[in-house]
Amino acid sequence: MTEQLFNALSLGFTYSLISLGYSMVYGIINLINFAHGEFFMLGAYAGVISLIIGIPWYISFFISIIVGAFVSTFVEVIGYRPLREKNSGRLTALITAISFSLFFQNFIFLFPGADLIGLGNRNPMHGAVITVGDFKIPLIKFFIFVVTIFLLILLILIVYRTKIGKAMRAVAFSKDISSLMGINPNFVISFTFALGGGLAGAAGFLEALDKNQVYNFMGVIPGLKAFIAAVVGGIGSISGAVAGGILIGFLETISVVIGLSFIKDVISFVLLILILILKPSGLFLKTQREKV
């Protein structure tokens, strides 16, 4: 039971970390960034390559975060910002997102190559378990749990306690009015992409350690599920993104435990359809949400 609990939580937390980026970006510019799953994939690759060339795990982890943040900001500056300034529609942004997705997935064929990369014994947590009472829990699951909690606290502190976090919430309400306060909305938007991308990169690193491998399409399904998690939780809301991720993690784990593992990947899509029909504003929103 404890083992399954940690399975569900670590899976859910991975979705949550990705989901936050979708949600924060939507909160600030009403854009669903469908390239977001690739920041997770690229973060995972960056971490794995770092580990393989012998960089210590904690630095590799940091590199994953930086790469996720950097690529995310790059996509915003090169892709979305010019569209925003020309007032292009949502369809243009969607096509741009899909193009970036395809570009990154195919870029991996060039470097480091089409084959999936296994971590093998370069994985610092491979096979390690910790014992809690009578239960053995893989160290990585515990690690995902602890790291995610840490990152969430950090995120909350940034968004609610720092100047730039307050600026994020101000820009989420209105770019024009924020700019009257001397805030450069583009800077704040880029920062939001960096935060979201960094969290996705972190999730990628954790996933690579958990699965012990990376491949170029690894961002697609988790990306979609994390998007669903954001919608389920009420897109734009930080707590909603986390709750949505955890919910999907639990539903998937439960489906496996009760022997229905074939529905594991379908559940989130069914959930999405149900939410869109029954409560499009998201499950966890009471009244008006606070966007960021």
Binding site: K163, K166, A167, R169, A170, A172, F173, S174, D176, I177, S178, S179, L180, M181, G182, I183, N184, P185, Q288, E290, K291
Partner: protein, 235 residues
């Protein structure tokens, strides 16, 4: 201090300002009066850089600012308090005031400016931990003006501070506007439909009609002008 020359502004093909000129000198309260749709809000949005499809020139302290971005203009000390208040409803009163001091690096100065605003509007102190969206209209207007003051403006652009407020609240707010101008030496450009109260507190007034300045002069004289009396004071 602020000189506007031959300003035209377009919304697509529609010309909302048809070439207006006016100026604001340091220390003055200047009012621009005009009925709904005259172009008052447009004028302020052009000055603060929010509208870019313009012709003509705007200079502030001798320097043209037409190419500046809104956040750069705010940094120069031109602070625009938008129509309908525009407080951040999702932030607390205190956070709104903090955001007002975004351009000030020194945190202590922001804090002491917030204290000063609490002295001007004690109501904001009582409600400092409340989300701004839950304030009454009058309180939101106080917050919007207070937030503008945190940035230590050289000139404050006020867009219809009286809009939708009860007469007593309007009086209270205009008293404060006068006080900010006298005691804190903040120059004020006030845009209003409420012609009477604006002319009472300002030195000079410009009358705006469908994108053109149709009359200008010393407020105390204009208030007795037959045209103004008829068209704007309902006399």
């Amino acid at each position: 201090m602020l000189v506007i020359e031959g300003l035209k502004s377009y919304y697509g093909k529609i010309m909302a300002l048809k070439g207006i000129s006016f100026n604001v000198k340091e220390g003055e309260i200047i009012s621009i009066i005009g009925s709904n749709g005259a172009g008052k809000t447009t004028t302020l949005r052009v000055i603060s850089g929010l509208l870019r499809d313009i012709e003509g020139n705007i200079s502030f302290m001798g320097k043209s600012i037409v190419k500046f971005k809104p956040y750069e203009i705010a940094k120069l000390g031109i602070i625009h308090v938008p129509e309908g208040r525009g407080v951040f409803p999702n932030l607390t009163v205190y956070e709104n005031l903090e955001i007002g001091g975004y351009t000030i690096k020194d945190k202590k100065r922001v804090k002491s400016n917030i204290e000063k605003v609490y002295e001007i509007f004690p109501r904001l102190l009582e409600r400092r931990y409340q989300k701004a969206g839950t304030l009454s209209g009058g309180e939101q207007q106080m917050l919007a003006i207070g937030r503008g003051l945190i940035a230590e403006p050289k000139i404050l652009l006020l867009d219809e501070p009286s809009l939708g407020l009860a007469p007593i609240v309007v009086k209270e707010i205009f008293k404060v506007i006068k006080k900010i101008n006298r005691e804190d030496k903040v120059t004020i450009l006030l845009v209003e439909q409420n012609a009477k109260i604006s002319m009472e507190i300002s030195e000079r007034t410009y009358v705006l009609e469908t994108g053109l300045v149709v009359k200008e002069g010393i407020s105390s004289q204009l208030i007795n002008d037959d045209f103004v009396k008829k068209a704007y004071l309902g006399l």
